[in-house]
Symmetry: D3
Subunit: 254 residues, 6 copies
């Protein structure tokens, strides 16, 4: 990936945390983080820490009954002091905010994008992503961690004879990473300090085969050109490949 850096002519740029523009923050994936869930993963991307659990339940919601198809859904939330300033609980406010809704839906779509609902049969998997500490990229870390929890839950389901084969349910793996343009320079995997300064911000979820499942680019502060998009997608591809290697490594243990 030296090439990207070359292409960008950004060799000399120093990021606040000393990383190169095309470098991921350190990733750590801990499986079996808690005991109760069928899949339970703690993912750490730099200082961002998300607990991802996967709950397997036989049966599907009413609107899905007798379809022969399964269902995968996700909920995302932040603990009140995941952030520098305390955020009020959404349970206390009595309603879920738009950002939370948006991210929950994104995570759900990413995972459904690699699940064969017929192979899953009439079973449901509920993903819960709870951010213990937030330092940018919580939604993409959630996708990456949730995939590992999903694999563990499917393996559990296979072992307990709820499904025939976990492998057949999964059509590919999926991970996600953020990229963005900071002061004119495209960069990979933005921590909070960069994210809040970004002119353009993009979250990219990709499969192991290198195809896109979700692409969400936002340029509230300065539109981005098609060329910039190209560079951002190159960075995202590099990042996702490395994240998928980390997923594989974590899943290889035990």
């Amino acid at each position: 990936m030296v090439e990207i850096t070359d292409m960008l002519g950004e060799r000399s740029i120093t990021r606040a945390d000393g990383r190169k523009v095309d470098e991921l923050r350190p990733v750590r994936i801990t499986r079996h983080f808690t005991d109760a869930p069928e899949g339970s993963v703690l993912i750490e991307c730099g200082n961002t820490r998300v607990m991802c659990t996967a709950t397997f339940t036989a049966g599907v919601p009413r609107w899905r009954k007798d379809s022969g198809l399964g269902w995968v859904t996700a909920e995302y939330a932040m603990l009140p002091r995941a952030t520098a300033e305390r955020t009020d609980r959404e349970s206390v406010r009595g309603k879920i905010g738009g950002r939370t809704h948006e991210i929950s839906r994104l995570i759900g779509r990413c995972l459904r994008g690699v699940v064969d609902m017929k192979a899953l049969g009439e079973n449901m998997i509920q993903i819960d992503c709870d951010v213990l500490q937030a330092d940018g990229g919580t939604r993409t870390a959630s996708v990456t961690g949730a995939y590992v929890a999903l694999v563990d839950a499917l393996d559990w389901a296979e072992k307990h004879h709820h499904i025939r084969s976990a492998k057949k349910v999964l059509t590919d793996c999926v991970s996600a990473v953020s990229v963005g343009v900071i002061s004119g320079t495209p960069m990979l995997d933005l921590p909070y300090v960069e994210d809040s300064a970004a002119m353009t911000d993009m979250n990219v979820a990709m499969t192991g085969s290198g195809a896109f499942i979700e692409l969400q680019g936002t340029a509230e502060h300065r539109p981005f050109t098609r060329d910039e998009l190209g560079t951002l997608l190159d960075l995202a591809e590099k990042g996702n490949k490395e994240l998928q290697a980390a997923q594989r490594e974590a899943l290889a243990k035990d």
Copy 2:
């Protein structure tokens, strides 16, 4: 745009409504649709009809006070029988659904993407997009219509001496369109019947200068490759150029 069709080798494809793959549905933009709002637009894209109003208010929300900056926000909603089956009102259910939140936020970001908040000063513009009839592409029609309502509201504010110059507030124009892959073929501006069959679905908001403000691609049903992405963005560019022509034409009247 004959080129795109060529490139796709899709000359012979007939869409349910007789359009070519790179053809927009008929667009109609009616300004001054109602009397009370500072900007009031009815936009019709095929059978999709959205009423977009822009409310200008002197002053900004508390968190924005003494910043010297303005604010633009948006709310989207569907009337209960905009759809084939009646949808329960979110006011009756007592909470706003995730989809509504997601779309409201998208519209707000698109418009903020072409507004110079300093030039707007400490004033607020609230966009309301209410779908009277839904036939696919309601969120992109909302963006396209809301921009016209925004221009009218800024002109009103200039005339009433709330702002110095409407033109200086707007850094560019913005429109949005949906594209998607149906049965393997990339297509422009999907009505409901195509949208629900799409393997990949993308909403693209672009400025008049051809840059991206929002890019939201979803591939719950089949990931898309970078090549497909390229074709979809070509289609979106063509569609947005035509929508921006329709905006200009509407704004030229009266």
Copy 3:
């Protein structure tokens, strides 16, 4: 109706919009305003514009099952910029206000007052009245427009063999109009400017046969005598007759 004016000795009174005290605002009823609903009507009474849809559903709510009887219900809402100042959405506030509840219930009772629930059978009709522009009399315009949408929905149900005969379901027609005392003078069909100045305000729903279904008089600002009541009811009778003529005319088309 020269008589009423005579009786009131109000020949010389000029209303802000130039109408006589016993004169309705221009009424326009557009059927098939949107495509999806079984009945879809736009009613315009002066500057007041309400979209009324009627949704026919086979089956009734649980509490009504196995009664052999149908059900008719109504929901009323205002778009945020139907009014001069923007009103917050009730979906955003998370609850429905008292005024909305009150009006929804009024509309429902008016329509049920002309429906034979046995003839309707175990089917449900949901009326939705959404105010696009409000200039007084939105609740009465809703009743008048909703009746036309109801007729269309019943005709649709007859054509689709859900009910035997639309005519047998309807025992009469119904319309509603507002009357009030402004500066001591009883007047028919109050726009917002008169409504807010009214000492007494009354909404009167009547059948084609001239009987009352709903009578709601309010005199927060000055009680009204039985004589004044008499004059107000005369005005309301005249107004409702004319509104019912407009309904008949609209229903005669196509």
Copy 4:
């Protein structure tokens, strides 16, 4: 009032509780029912029992500030077992139903109809009507009882020098009663068993001078003619006069 009975030719009609058609149920008004409120009244109309309290607070809500005017508002609620079948608490359901809203607003308007807001000054009175036992006519009993609580609260305010003169605040007294047509016969003051059988149901709030403040007639089950309206209003007038006598008597004590 023998005349009404004559007019109706209903001498021989026996109501379930033995009353004549133009006869009120026994009324009992207990002042100082509880100690804390500035006004606290228990009103009993037959088996209907409502606790009405009036809370005086110096100052008005924000929207009323610096107007020099006071404000009067009301809230109505039923205890869960006021009725034959237990009703779920609205606090538990998390929202207030339409019926409750409708009645709360009615009570508020009735009391405001006899209050001179200028004489009240920037002070607020909150009326609470809680139904301990419901046997028809709870909303009209609430109005009648609340008026007495209001008088007590104003006297308290005068004694504590919040207002100059309680008498000047009240422009008149107000009471309310229900009337209805049961099996073709107009009757006064309907208990639940009659109310639920009524073809037409009307609530009439009148001042001591015999003028109307609120008139709410509903004929979901059979429209009523102008003649019937006349008879119903005669009955309501008789009932309200007697209720106002009971109010005076209660207020004369202590």
Copy 5:
């Protein structure tokens, strides 16, 4: 009980209302307070007045079905002017506060503590405790009153052949009382003025046999020692015995 007073050396202490430290406020229990509920009790402990109703319903909630067991649950609420300052209704606020939840749960547990769910069979009893006037000890008065309403509801159920024997359902009686330490002195049955000054506050629910069902001691303002606890429990035992005598006396009537 002279002994406790001796032990405390508090002979000379005069409480604001003239009671001795180990003396209950006057208790009055009125059965059949309202007609509709299966059990309806007004309990007065000094100025605290609570209306307790017990609703008997054949059948249990879904989660309890086919268990052969019954269910007893309770809801507590305060009328807005039960207190010196008006409290907003929880129905209006749209949610139930923590204090209300806490007390409702306490009452439910106390009653379930003396009910044999098998003997009750698949039937449900819902207790409603509504505070008409609050002067301290509303939760303990609720428990004491609710027990009497429960007995009446069970007798009703036996008479109507819903259960075999009311006596077999009840394993014991239950009452509750508050105790606390005020300025260093343990006291029985605290009115509001003492309650708000208490350093330690304890609610004690006991059976007729003298065992504890609920014990809730709170010492936000000064921790209490084990010795103090002993004295408080002595006081509570004395109080509960007297309250149970009052319950027996009330139940002996009619």
Copy 6:
């Protein structure tokens, strides 16, 4: 503590996890668990794991202003898969359940019981206890862990000159533990399997000086005698002493 075991004659009792009846589960307290909060603690009691954070904010809520006093409050919540079966999020349900309210209030009172509000000055501390894994005793673990987070937050506040002395704010330390009677045997520190089988269940919060701050005993399934209470309090005292030793040890590090 050999004595307690002797007294109980329970030497031979084997608990499911091999502990003696008066033995705590292993306790582990990790400070600085996350970076953002002023105090952040992970407490593990056996398999129960709770993340406790303390947020220090200068200033107090409005109702406390100009009192010269500080405020301490707490919120408790469970992650959805802290339990064997997934629990729906309270944010999704739109309201907080009674159990959550009850526990949040308990934690707040316990901590306020050792805080000198004058020494804290007009500053606020918000405690958040989020259960990552639940195996009984989550509320008592929350209290024990929250105290450590509170100390860290006060030290932070002293270092940042918000308060003069953290030590003066704290009047003592506080911890809490559960005790209960299982099959007739009093036991210390109940895991879920014992808790759900307990006839009597008690949570006891004590200060370092051995006094009680909170005492909550519940005997829904079998009342407990005063003798049993004595034994339970002996066990609780032993447990709390050991927990306070663990707190001291954790606070001694770094």
